[in-house]
Symmetry: C2
Subunit: 415 residues, 2 copies
């Protein structure tokens, strides 16, 4: 007997019939003798509907009141799922975040979980009940409802699994696992059976949007074995088969068994590059350029500062393509303060990354990556590296070619 | 400066534009220096949508889980109304029932309020905030969400007004007050400026469905001055005019000033009459006949037991027309136990009532009522009386005629 947390996304909860399917799947796990906690998202479309109502009233909805409203989608889901289980004869009970003491800070719309009181859930589980808890939300010290931001139900599920010291957290979603790269770009993309938290973090933040980044951090920090698997399979498929499907996000030691130097090729198509030319090279130049950009709530990714020549330097950084025009406007407004010559940019660039904990112990990964791109005549505009990742910025039109070439160069199609 | 509770129904909250109208009206009262608490219903249609989802999953939805779901409609409303006030520069904050300690029993879907902790609301009011609280719901001792049943937001508003010792509870609705009878039946029907709680109770339960019956009981028990008024007027109409519009439900002493013997003619069209003939007249006959009917969840209204002849009696009672066939079936199934000769019934009968505290101190109200009906050749099938009400059961086809004749006979068209 194990204690297992299931998380189901909005698509899986998208209609009353789909909710009945979720109930059948959950019941199968409970019938096998496991203790089950379920964290469902709001029905697909519901959170957007609620936010739409709020925006029709207030252009910039008040965050506390928005959380009051947005949290109701999950509350409806837990009640419906509990009913679907009761309707097939299982003992089930639903709770909101505040009912099981999911305490967060007061950063409404992007709150962080601080603690969970597991006593009520534990006693229900011991009484044989299936416990269903709202994702995405908690309550702050003053008793205000808070939400964790988009995708927050993943984080809720992992946090609840951590608090309960669950044996595994199963994230049911509309993909069947984490792939070596996007199968729509590379036919030979292969599902990974295991991946480390660190690799998953790089893959998630680089565009493989399977899991909310924060949930992966949480799983890593609290060492919660987390599995991403498909909710589109037959709910009554054999449990042993289902339990080994998808991709297990786990600890490095175990995952090393796969022996691959790198685990996957991630990419982010919609990047933009901005270069500030002829900036006087004095202390604080990076802060003075990026401070106003950051104040405008624009996220900066890669950053390069050139060697200075004659007391002047060039400063290059990337932003999401959607923020490109705004970033240019911010720099324009700071021209007098920054004293630069001019600003040039390119909004048709993409980032491609090779990710893998294996590169820690293998030399030559970077050079193999660069040679592969050179062989395809792809020019590299920027490079950034971390312990388990090498990213390059290239012309958007070569992105698919680069991903396919790298996928092949690192033998990722082979198990 | 007064402390005033406003309640708005689902129609008033039916769209984001209407919610902005509510905000404008509330702001007007707050601008005049009053402390304002607002209790809005769910947006019209929302509660039905939620119950529909529940029923698609479970024919007889589990009551606790149904309350978990149904309570979200009001939660969305309070958040939206708070935003609408914030958007026009008013300081406002929304709370769910559990956030302000609206404690109920655990009778899910029909819970009763036991206590309200007013401390949080009071401190917000003293800080100048407009406080918005979900209607229709509370929380039981175990922290489960409960709802008060259909129309429960009226009760919430009155209960909150009682807990805060508010100066008045204003129930904004889509009618502009309580009338001497239904204006669709009698052209001369007149809006009452005042009515007692007891009269309102009789009028509400007899079909003038302006307020949930329980809210009127609550207002009476806790002596909360409660006013029913229109939400369809211009939100910016002069406050002094608005404050005196509608109908004030108040204490007898004040209302006697209107001097009318009776206050209104209520009616209930869809009644049915059932007579059990030849029942052996022994102790407990009423219980043995009505017990099984009540067990089938059928509400019985008027009851008459004839003088017995030769140890046998006839027993007549009325039910809502919708329950007529079921009631007959119940009696049929009990034929052997009850030992009656046969059952006859009439599903085309209506009840007409004259209501007024004035009849306590005036003799001859009943005889005037009977003479009026006799003058119109309307046969009376059953009569029941209380301290402030006389009801007669008549053939459905004479109902409008009876209401019009009685309205005129008691001079109700005159102020």
């Amino acid at each position: 007997m194990a204690l297992i947390v299931h998380k189901y996304g909005g698509t899986s909860m998208g209609s009353t019939d789909r909710i009945k399917n979720v109930a059948a799947r959950v019941a199968k796990w409970h019938d096998a003798g496991h203790q089950i906690v379920v964290v469902p998202s709001a029905m697909s479309g519901e959170t957007n509907r609620l936010i739409g109502l709020a925006k029709a009233i207030m252009d910039q909805p008040d965050p506390r009141e928005l959380d009051m409203i947005a949290s109701t989608g999950e509350q409806v889901s837990v009640g419906l799922l509990a009913m679907a289980l009761l309707a097939i004869g299982k003992d089930a009970v639903s709770y909101t975040g505040w009912q099981v003491g999911i305490r967060t800070d007061s950063s409404f719309t992007k709150a962080r979980i601080q603690s969970i009181d597991d006593s009520r859930v534990r006693s229900d589980l011991e009484a044989g009940k299936i416990v269903i808890i709202t994702g995405f939300q908690g309550v702050d010290e003053q008793g205000n409802i808070s939400t964790l931001g988009r995708g927050g139900s993943d984080t809720s599920a992992v946090a609840i699994a951590a608090a309960l010291k669950a044996d595994e957290c199963l994230i049911y979603t509309d993909v069947d696992g984490v792939y070596t790269t996007d199968p729509r770009v590379v036919d030979e993309a292969r599902r990974l059976e295991k991946i480390t938290f660190e690799e998953m973090l790089e893959l998630a933040s680089l565009g493989s949007k399977v899991l909310q980044t924060r949930s992966v951090e949480f799983a890593g920090n609290y060492q919660v074995p987390t599995r991403v698997l498909s909710s589109l399979t037959d709910p009554l498929m054999p449990l042993a088969e289902e339990a080994n499907s998808g991709t297990l996000i786990s600890f490095e030691e175990e995952t090393n068994m796969e022996q691959a130097v790198i685990s996957g090729i991630a990419f982010h198509r919609d990047e933009a590059k901005i270069t500030v030319l002829g900036v006087p090279d004095k202390p604080g130049v990076a802060f003075h350029i990026l401070g106003p950009v950051s104040d405008a709530n624009i996220e900066v990714d890669m950053i390069i500062q050139n060697q200075s020549v004659d007391g002047k330097t060039d400063f290059t950084f990337t932003v999401s393509r959607g923020d490109y025009q705004r970033a240019l406007a911010v720099l324009e407004s700071q021209k007098d303060v920054l004293g630069y010559t001019r600003v040039v940019g390119d909004a048709k660039v993409s980032k491609v990354s090779a990710v893998g904990v294996g590169m820690r112990s293998h030399v030559g990964v970077a050079s193999q990556m660069f040679r592969t791109l050179a062989d395809e005549n792809i020019n590299i505009m920027m490079i950034s590296t971390s312990e388990i990742k090498i990213s390059v910025l290239i012309d958007e039109k070569y992105m698919e070619l680069a991903v396919r070439a790298l996928h092949k160069a690192f033998d990722l199609e082979k198990a």
